[in-house]
């Protein structure tokens, strides 16, 4: 089952895990949660490109499914204003074996970071705001998966 959601509301990790676990072919479920971090950060505002975002996430999930023969993929990405400590993204992969589930989960996050059209704007505790810059390490991580074929 492929479950792709872009929403402002929070998600329930346990509930999402349960949805993908309820399948006798599933022997491993891996979940990743990314959250707002930083000692001087008050909040993050996430902007996205409605339509393209969902399409990009579906394509990334599809590629992971083809590469690791998954039983299920869930990607939930939040948008709007999120305060420090709040979850931003959930990626959940279900497979027969753990190696597939671990690798697919890492792949989805690495590719999402460089291909899904989201932009973060940080608001610091002192009230100043700035757009988050893309990191070279993220581009390298994605390029590594793509060159592995």
């Amino acid at each position: 089952m492929q479950r792709i959601l872009v929403q402002s509301s929070p998600f329930d990790q346990d509930d999402e895990c349960q949805r993908q676990s309820d399948n006798h072919q599933v022997g491993a479920v891996v979940s990743f949660v990314g959250q707002v971090r930083g000692t001087d950060i008050a909040s993050l505002t996430l902007e996205h490109y409605p339509g393209m975002t969902e399409q990009a996430l579906r394509r990334i999930a599809q590629q992971a499914d083809e590469r690791w023969r998954l039983q299920g993929v869930t990607i939930i990405h939040r948008v709007g204003e999120l305060t420090r400590g709040e979850p931003i993204v959930l990626v959940l992969t279900a497979a027969a074996h753990r190696q597939q589930a671990f690798a697919a989960c890492a792949y989805i996050m690495d590719i999402l970071k460089t291909q899904a059209p989201f932009w973060k704007k940080e608001r610091k505790l002192d009230g100043s705001t700035h757009w988050v810059e893309a990191r070279e390490e993220d581009a390298e991580a994605a390029a590594q998966w793509l060159s592995d074929g």
Binding site: G34, L46, E47, H48, Y49, G51, M52, Q55, H77, I88, V89, M109, L112, K113, T114, Q115, A116, P117, F118, W119, K120, K121, W131, V132, E133, A134, A139
Partner: protein, 80 residues
């Protein structure tokens, strides 16, 4: 008509989220060059890292934009 969208820091720097463009077909690179020629502010905002999507799929500079297409320009993405 082509519909042009701007996102993230680009949208903010340009003070523009969407506009219509009459000339089509046109290559992504040619459109970018015409937009940059509008003013130094546009040239600065639409720097060499600017990404482009045509009909919601990432596109390179040589891609041809047709009448009725949706084009988006945005900075490198920072989700996750």
């Amino acid at each position: 008509m082509i519909r042009i969208l701007y996102f993230g820091q680009l949208r903010e720097m340009l003070g523009c989220h969407a506009e219509e463009w009459a000339e089509a077909p046109i290559a992504v690179s040619a459109l970018l060059e015409q937009l940059r020629a509008r003013s130094p502010a546009w040239r600065e905002a639409l720097d060499e890292r600017t990404l482009c999507a045509v009909n919601q799929t990432l596109a390179k500079g040589h891609a041809l934009i047709q009448d009725g297409d949706e084009v988006a320009f945005f900075p490198p993405v920072t989700g996750g």
